[in-house]
């Protein structure tokens, strides 16, 4: 069983708010999903060491500079910017 507290804890790690109205439904859904995920622990098979889908190694880049992007482009999608920087205004509410 997944508890509400656990959901709240992982919500904080995920940088998500979970509202009072959502928590019960979400906990119920998550509980189902995690119980489903848990079925892998019924596998008698301990599995095989695996960590790399295509078994490649040493794909490396030469240390050569390519000119960076114009700052205008770098900042183009930012909602707020100032002095050539990305900006987060501190709004007190």
């Amino acid at each position: 069983m997944v508890s509400k507290e656990e959901i709240m804890k992982i919500a904080i790690l995920s940088k998500l708010f979970v509202g009072e109205d959502e928590i019960d439904g979400l906990t119920e859904d998550m509980d189902k999903i995690i119980a489903f995920a848990d079925t892998i622990n019924n596998a008698s098979d301990e599995g095989t060491d695996f960590d790399n889908i295509n078994n490649l190694s040493n794909v490396l880049r030469e240390d050569e500079v390519i000119p960076s992007y114009d700052r205008e482009k770098i900042l183009a999608n930012a909602k707020d910017s100032d002095d050539g920087c990305f900006l987060v205004k501190n709004i007190m509410k």
């Binding site: 804890k9 995920s14 859904d29 489903f36 995920a37 848990d38 599995g47 295509n54 183009a76 501190n90």
Partner: protein
């Protein structure tokens, strides 16, 4: 019989039977007319399409040779980055995001003067099997608009099936190309992991994601795959196609080819789908192929393994949407942390949030070993099981989806039931293998049924060869009444 639309249009352009601008205009008009019903496109780009078409016409007028994909109207799923053209992942959080660089696949096609008609609908961040988690509402099935187009590349499948594009590129993490292709009665290829560059594909689950074509014929899929399967130095996991172009061997004889059927793939599959697969096996026998039955018990863990690993990667990949550099940003907040949380909570839809939470859970301390690590080990088991399977057969035949396209609004009730629709498609992503979905029949309501051919790593040539032979012999494809009728 479904023939190559690309080859046919290429012929028409070269012989000046139609100009590229006229052709493009037909598609633009069709989108105008039919997109309301299909909701396939979320962004249309008629100006740039006509501009490219103009360039192609000039080349033809000057008597220059043009490439096979040159001037052919097409579309991209809205998670493939396009410089200067909105790329939203059909999420509120990227609603007005305009990339400043091109995805490698788009760069390749752009250089061949592909005519981009627009960006197509998808489940938000490719998380879903119906296209209904899209912030812009789901794409509809051109065989019956009361049904979903499938997902997550529902928009591409709806556009291609509805003749609003000749071909499209989708992405497939757990079935997102093959499932909507199957639902819409067309062809979709999920290439071998690493065959097509992922650079510029907005990540859902990095070790599963692959870009691939959705078309109305196997030959068109082969043509597009040959074009985009190039090694890309920007993607460390890229290898490109291995061997000669798949079009070279597409129409080879398949006498003696061993087609494997794993019993586990047929568990829980609806009768009409099972029947269609049996018929397909019979077609193969008539073509001189040999049917081999075997067991793949490892498949029973495929679905949970997929959800654990894909969500773990997703929880990390989607951490970057914090409102600071791009995308939606909450407008009132107490401090930076509050801004980030509000941005993410308002910007992501429910399914995305659920998968982020699951992914965070399985990676968090105390649960990592029981979920992430264990799933990773079982991934290894599944990889090995497939390797063994390819000792007894050349390609594996399986259903693409255990059912046909569901009705709109039907998919989102129970989370697990929804996930179960992916049961036949996820094993291929887990093992990094190529899989192609080909239409193989229709149910009593006329909704398409798809079958899947699965190959060994970099075995695209073999599965497309088997797919073409079947397509040619069985003649299943039925065009829809939407869009451009050539």
């Amino acid at each position: 019989m479904s023939e190559s639309k690309i080859a046919k249009l290429h012929e028409m352009l070269v012989s000046k039977e139609i100009s590229c601008k006229e052709l493009t205009k037909q598609y633009i008009d069709a989108i105008e007319k039919d997109n309301e019903a299909l909701n396939a496109y979320v962004t249309a780009t008629p100006e740039t399409a006509l501009e490219t078409a103009g360039k192609v016409d000039e080349k033809i007028a000057k008597g220059e040779n043009i490439g096979l994909l040159e001037g052919i109207p097409m579309t991209l799923k809205d998670n493939i980055s396009t410089d200067g053209i909105k790329t939203t992942c059909c999420s509120k959080i990227l609603e007005d995001y305009v990339p400043i660089y091109d995805a490698t696949v788009w760069n390749i096609l752009k250089n061949q003067n592909a005519v981009l008609l627009g960006k197509t609908n998808m489940d938000e961040f490719a998380m879903g099997s119906s296209c209904e988690t899209s912030y812009f509402g789901g794409a509809k099935n051109p065989h019956n608009v009361n049904h979903v187009a499938g997902g997550s590349s529902g928009g591409v499948a709806s556009a291609v099936g509805g003749n609003l594009a000749v071909y499209g590129l989708g992405s497939d993490t757990g079935g997102s190309i093959r499932q909507p292709a199957s639902f819409c009665g067309i062809v979709g290829l999920k290439p071998t992991y690493g065959a097509v560059s992922r650079y510029g594909l907005i990540a859902y689950a990095s070790s599963f994601d692959q870009i691939g074509p959705i078309t109305t014929s196997v030959e068109d899929t082969a043509i597009v795959f040959d074009a985009v399967s190039q090694y890309d130095e920007k993607d460390s996991t890229s290898q490109g196609r291995k061997g000669e172009p798949v079009t070279a061997t597409l129409k080879n004889d398949i006498k003696g080819m061993k087609i494997g059927i794993a019993r586990e793939y047929l568990d829980g599959v609806r009768d009409d789908v099972k029947e269609a697969i049996d018929k397909a096996a019979a077609v193969y026998q008539s073509l001189g192929a040999e049917i081999v039955y075997f067991d793949l018990p490892a498949l029973k863990y495929a679905l949970p393994v997929y959800y654990i690993l894909a969500c773990a990667e997703a929880s990390s990949n989607l951490g970057r949407y914090d409102g600071i550099r791009y995308g939606y940003k909450a407008d009132s907040y107490f401090d930076v942390n509050d801004m980030i949380k509000k941005t993410r909570s308002n910007g992501f839809g429910d399914e995305v949030k659920k998968r982020i939470l699951l992914g965070t859970y399985v990676l968090s301390s105390g649960y990592y070993d029981a979920y992430y690590k264990k799933a990773q080990n079982l991934r290894g088991t599944i990889v090995n099981a497939f390797q063994n399977a390819f000792n007894v057969c050349d390609v594996i035949l399986a259903p693409t989806v255990p059912m046909t396209a569901f009705e709109n609004g039907h998919a989102v009730s129970d989370p697990i039931e929804t996930y179960l629709t992916d049961i036949c498609t996820v094993p291929v992503n887990i093992a990094g293998l190529p899989g192609v979905s080909v239409p193989c029949g229709y149910n009593s309501k006329g909704m398409p049924i798809g079958m899947q051919l699965i190959g060994n790593t970099f075995g695209e040539a073999k599965i497309l060869n088997a797919a073409w032979q079947y397509e040619n012999a069985a003649d299943i494809f039925k065009p829809t009444d939407f869009g451009v009728q050539l």
